[in-house]
């Protein structure tokens, strides 16, 4: 097992290197740099001045040297300087990530139990009334995009009922201003995971070993708990793990909508403002998150599914 994790960590590191290199090359291509120069120094610079600005800031050196320098700094924890916020990247990115982290935490803590429950209850008896009602509910919630449901919720709960606030201020979270963004993501996500869980549960309940268990004389409920649940959770587990990276980038819309200054907000701003170092740092964070959740997902998968564990 340790060997397996070690190998996966090694792959993770390699992937990060190559991905960050690709992003680095893309953001430091010449036209982009020229634009940056114009932005940073003086909009009406002559071509010569631009060239000398690039020279001065080290952008004229070979790409590998530049990348090496960035990598060296990044490995020691220095992600450079944000040209837009005019402070070190570290001071910008971590607080924003923390804000998004809080949002994600609440979303997942609400979504996972509810969606698994819905999926299992619906898939337990395929075609029953409960199944049909829950399935229709999940389809409706996943088919409404977040920018629609977000606006709808704002109108209903904030403008009309005046229950919650339509704006969520990062840093000072209250039940009042934080409910709507969480709700918007949760509603969409629940339907998605519930549908996955239902499909997996239906498949398991039709498996022959469930028949074996029933014909051993076990009651329906204990068959569901002892025999079906664990097998039915294998597929949704992977899907839930994929939610982490999806949430990180998927929060962009919701964060923009509710003006919640988190990671998604930052990502948009950095890309907008051609903030090279912040964009790179955001990319690295995203890659780390994707790969670690994949690693956790693989380990968990092996735990749930003994066929993987032993081969």
């Amino acid at each position: 097992m340790l060997l397996f994790i070690g190998k996966r960590l090694f792959v993770l590191f390699l992937t990060m290197l190559s991905l960050s290199f690709i992003v680095f090359t893309l953001v430091t291509i010449e036209p982009n740099l020229k634009k940056l120069a114009l932005n940073q120094a003086n909009m009406r610079m002559e071509e010569e001045a631009v060239q000398s600005w690039l020279e001065k800031n080290g952008y004229k050196r070979p790409i590998l040297v530049q990348y090496g320098e960035w990598l060296g700094n990044a490995l020691t924890g220095d992600f450079g300087y944000s040209t837009h916020f005019r402070k070190p990247v570290n001071e910008v990115i971590w607080p924003k990530l923390w804000h998004t982290g809080i949002l994600m935490f609440w979303v997942l803590i609400i979504t996972i139990p509810i969606s698994l429950l819905i999926g299992i209850i619906a898939g337990m008896r395929e075609g029953s009334k409960t199944d049909r009602v829950l399935s229709v509910f999940s389809i409706i919630t996943t088919s409404v995009p977040q920018y629609v449901s977000g606006i709808l919720f704002t109108i209903i709960f904030s403008s009309w009922l005046k229950l919650f606030k339509g704006v969520a201020k990062a840093g000072s979270i209250t039940f009042e201003n934080f409910t709507l963004p969480v709700l918007t993501i949760v509603i969409y996500d629940i339907g998605y995971i519930a549908r996955m869980t239902r499909a997996s549960m239906v498949e398991v309940m039709n498996a022959q070993y469930i028949r074996t268990a029933r014909l051993k004389g076990m009651s329906f409920i204990s068959v569901v708990f002892k025999h079906a649940l664990r097998n039915a959770l294998i597929a949704p587990f992977t899907v839930i793990m994929l939610q982490f990276p999806w949430l990180l980038t998927g929060v962009v819309i919701v964060e923009k909508l509710f003006n919640y200054k988190g990671f998604g907000f930052l990502l948009v701003a950095a890309a907008d403002q051609n903030d090279i170092d912040v964009t790179l740092a955001c990319g690295v964070v995203a890659v780390i998150l994707v790969l670690t959740t994949q690693l956790i997902s693989d380990i968990g998968y092996a735990f749930l599914n003994p066929r993987i564990r032993f081969s």
């Binding site: 190998k7 008896r125 074996t212 029933r214 051993k216 076990m218 032993f310």
Partner: protein, 683 residues
């Protein structure tokens, strides 16, 4: 008379689909007394598994008992509450299933799946349940019960898994055991062991059995009574020897005539298939369901309303549902049992010279890793095949017979050795490097007709595509003409051209498979278990068709199979393989009579035979097939061979004994010694 353990009276089961009510079982009656072993025979779709599940009252959401009653020890089961049913399931009535792998929970250890049975039904402690389970594992002859208790299902072989399922079923000493095709997914030698085990244990515990199977031979070996089902109805029932010797229903007779028996081959006694196919539940004819397929049909008698079961012989409990039972001459030989002339084989077409195929098993593809080992799928094969001859390659799963087919067809390269086809070595030419003539000269018929046809193309289109690929005909019209000829050849109506594969039955699909294989007038056809996925009555028709076509074109056929009775019937010569090596070669006569290689002997003894007059010597193989990653030293068969000489067979490779006329046996024991054991069969 005592109360029967199980009494089914006029049972009718229907499946309620959205479109209509589909009757699966109609007017089915049966009595099973204490100590009885009742065999329930029929082809797929006849409703035999539905009967078994109806007894358990487990018919899913759509199945319903719409008429009749099932009594367990005199009590009507329809009056049982859900709780009472749960108490009976697994303790009084237990079931053994067709696919052991699918019947065990893949995410739970064997121990927890076993101990929950006694804990549930007898309320005993976990430790007691554990001890009971390990005892039961010993009883089902599983070595090292403690290790097995801690294993997961996928870590065990198919035979071991089925032993676990049997142990699970017998843990609570049930009074009725339902077996639903318990050995269909297993190899013959494993099957023989399992059947023997079930017979002995049920006798020891005093369990009555209901044995559901399509295999008449198996039923004859295990049961004392039989019920034959056709299209949802019982057609004949009675004591086993009575029914086998004096069958009184044309369907039973048809079934028995369509299976090859030992001692019969294609030249002496051609198989007789039952014409037509099983009607769909909503297309059942008026009167006798078997009518349209029956050679003795009398429209006035047979199609005039319901036909009831009639008593044939009361002391043998023999009943038949045939309206003309008194009119038919039951002992009459069938019309077409004339002998065929034996065709002579021509010159050598295919020569296999010390052919070997290894697969490397690497630890990890991405990191390379160190090599874990080599699977020796084929080791030093030597044989040849002549023009127009049928050469059978026989062995259990994992013996390397399919690997050889892959090399021959150019799907794999050989590791060493030669494969000479018409004097060209093709052992290392992959199929896309081969000349078109070579490709169309070596064709294949696949095992599973259900997966080999593209579901979204018409049958005619698929045959035309093959014709195009093998370069037959220069225009669409020419190919179309040839396609019609091929449909004629496989005895399908030309209208089938427009049909989609889902509109065909299994036998018809396999005929299309045969048409495709013969599209380019091949010289060699590899038939990989071509009939093992088909029903018995259809099997016979497909085998006869294959033999006819083969003779017509003088094609060489490599018939890969594990079913020795079919092999005996079709083959001219046989190659017996075990774990990648050839253990015996010879003409069919030589293989099926002594001297036998000990493995051939065990294989022959394991095949169930549907003839009460033939007695066999029983040779049960111990243990399971060794891993091909780590084959035994010396003779590969020594770990399971009942005659192994310790110190010799497990150290030194066996010598190849060349007997008369091409008969070879690879064994340390001298052929003279081997022939002393005599024939496996005795009439």
């Amino acid at each position: 008379m005592s109360i029967p353990v199980l009494e089914i009276e006029n049972l009718s089961v229907s499946f309620m689909t959205r479109a209509a009510e589909v009757p699966a079982v109609m007017d089915f009656s049966m009595k099973v007394f204490e100590g009885d072993a009742m065999g329930l025979v029929g082809e797929s779709g006849c409703g035999k598994s539905t009967v078994a599940l109806a007894i358990m009252k487990y018919l899913g959401g759509t199945g319903k008992i719409v008429g009749g009653s099932i009594k367990f020890r005199g009590r009507d089961m329809s009056t049982f509450s859900e709780k009472e049913l749960e108490d009976i399931r697994g303790s009084k009535i237990a079931m053994i299933y067709q696919e052991p792998m699918a019947s065990l929970n893949p995410a739970m250890r064997i121990s927890s799946q076993l101990i929950e049975v006694p804990i549930l039904h007898e309320n005993i402690s976990k430790d007691d349940a554990w001890n009971r389970s390990t005892e039961m594992l010993q009883k089902v002859n599983l070595p090292d019960p403690e290790r097995i208790m801690n294993a997961f299902p996928h870590q065990l072989s198919g035979g071991q898994q089925q032993r676990i399922v049997i142990a699970m079923a017998l843990l609570s000493k049930p009074s009725l055991l339902l077996l639903d095709e318990p050995t269909t997914a297993l190899d013959v030698t494993v099957e023989a062991g399992i059947i023997n085990l079930v017979k002995n244990l049920s006798k020891e515990i005093g369990t009555s059995m209901l044995f559901v199977s399509h295999n008449l031979g198996l039923i004859l070996e295990t049961c004392n009574k039989i019920t034959v089902m056709y299209s949802g109805e019982t057609v004949e029932t009675g004591e086993i020897n009575q029914v086998f010797r004096n069958m009184r229903h044309p369907y039973t007779q048809g079934l028995l005539r369509s299976i090859p028996l030992p001692g019969k081959n294609k030249y002496d006694a051609p198989l007789q298939a039952i014409a037509g196919q099983l009607p769909l539940p909503h297309e059942r004819p008026n009167g006798c369901n078997f009518g349209p397929r029956c050679p003795h049909l009398d429209k006035e008698v047979c199609e005039s309303g319901n036909i009831e079961m009639q008593l044939i012989s009361s002391n043998k409990n023999h009943f038949s549902r045939c309206a003309r039972v008194d009119k038919i001459q039951w002992n009459e030989k069938s019309l077409s049992s004339e002998k065929k002339p034996k065709s002579s084989s021509g010159g050598t077409l295919l020569t296999v010279k010390s052919l070997s195929k290894d697969y490397d098993v690497a630890a990890n593809v991405v990191f390379g890793g160190k090599k874990k080992g080599t699977v020796k799928a084929n080791v030093d094969l030597n044989f040849d095949a002549k023009v127009g001859e049928t050469l059978a390659i026989v062995g259990e799963s994992g013996c390397g017979k399919s690997t050889f087919a892959k090399v021959l067809l150019g799907l794999e390269n050989a590791s060493s050795g030669k494969l000479e086809f018409e004097d060209n070595d093709i052992a290392n030419t992959m199929v896309d490097e081969r000349k078109r003539a070579t490709v169309s000269a070596i064709q294949m018929i696949f095992q599973n007709p259900f997966d080999t046809l593209n579901p979204s193309h018409s049958v005619g289109g698929q045959i035309m595509r093959t014709l195009e690929k093998v370069g037959v005909g220069s225009s669409v019209e020419e190919r179309q003409q040839r396609m019609y000829e091929l449909l004629d050849l496989v005895k399908l109506p030309r209208e089938f051209e427009k049909r989609m594969p889902r509109q065909l039955s299994g036998g018809q699909k396999q005929r299309i498979g045969i048409a495709r294989a013969f599209a380019g007038s091949p010289k060699v056809v590899v038939a990989d278990e071509p009939v093992s996925a088909l029903d018995v009555s259809v099997q016979a028709a497909v085998i006869e068709l294959l033999i006819d076509i083969q003779e017509k074109f003088d094609t060489t056929m490599l018939f890969i199979s594990h079913d020795l009775s079919v092999v005996r019937y079709v083959a001219d010569r046989v190659v017996v393989m075990y774990l990648g090596k050839i253990s015996e070669t010879g003409t069919t006569e030589q293989i099926f009579s002594p001297p036998y290689h000990p493995y051939t002997e065990a294989l022959l003894s394991a095949v169930p035979i549907a003839d009460p007059d033939i007695k066999k010597r029983q040779i049960l193989l111990e243990g399971s097939l060794p891993s091909p990653l780590n084959p035994p030293k010396g003779c590969v068969f020594n770990t399971r061979c009942p005659n192994a000489i310790i110190g010799k067979c497990d150290k030194i490779d066996p010598p190849l004994q060349k007997l008369k006329e091409g008969h070879t046996i690879s064994c340390h024991i001298d052929a003279k010694e081997l022939s002393k054991k005599g024939s496996v069969f005795a009439q």
